[in-house]
Symmetry: C2
Subunit: 113 residues, 2 copies
């Protein structure tokens, strides 16, 4: 199963922050591959979505960056800033809570009282 595209909406930022909280630093392409691997290809982050998101996180001061040359090619590493760590906890908690709520909604039989 590959999820219909609309499901990912709203969760991308949280996924990226969570990965960065578990890994000291990661670069964009690495993030796409890690998510693909961890979700058994169910979630494929597109580059057109990822890079603007990373830039937004940087603009918001939630991540810091370091560019390094690997051979002749630039690789841009992202790491959480202190405020990014705080934000990550908030976002992860919120998403976990939301998923509990959604699970409840999907499981119950809402026979009108």
């Amino acid at each position: 199963m590959i999820y219909s595209t609309e499901l990912l909406k709203g969760t991308l930022k949280t996924i990226v922050l969570k990965l960065l909280s578990d890994n000291k630093r990661m670069y964009g392409y690495e993030i796409t591959q890690k998510v693909k691997e961890l979700t058994l290809d169910k979630i494929q982050i597109t580059e057109g979505a990822l890079y603007p998101t990373l830039h937004a996180l940087e603009d918001d001061g939630l991540v810091t960056t370091e560019s390094e040359f690997i051979g002749k090619r630039v690789r841009k590493y992202y790491a959480l800033s202190p405020s990014g760590k705080t934000k990550t906890k908030e976002k992860v908690n919120e998403l976990a809570d939301f998923m509990s709520t959604m699970k409840f909604l999907l499981d119950i039989k809402t026979k009108t009282a």
Copy 2:
């Protein structure tokens, strides 16, 4: 906690279909109140989001409608069509699967191997 608005994106249609699968028929306002009640005010479906979604479901043949007068006011009931019932199962399964995947992503410690 009230969820940040972007989280609901992509899940609204599935929520509506699920509610209709548990109740023979519902009208728009009733759906907003039911979701509010079931989620303890955590999810507030706005009318600007709901009515276009209901119309889209109707255009896609997933729901049928019946308009009734309650006093002088029209109330429009929505009910799943046969194809809507099939679609609901698919969407609910997909969302449940997605939530499992997300839960996994958020819980693990993804130390790079």
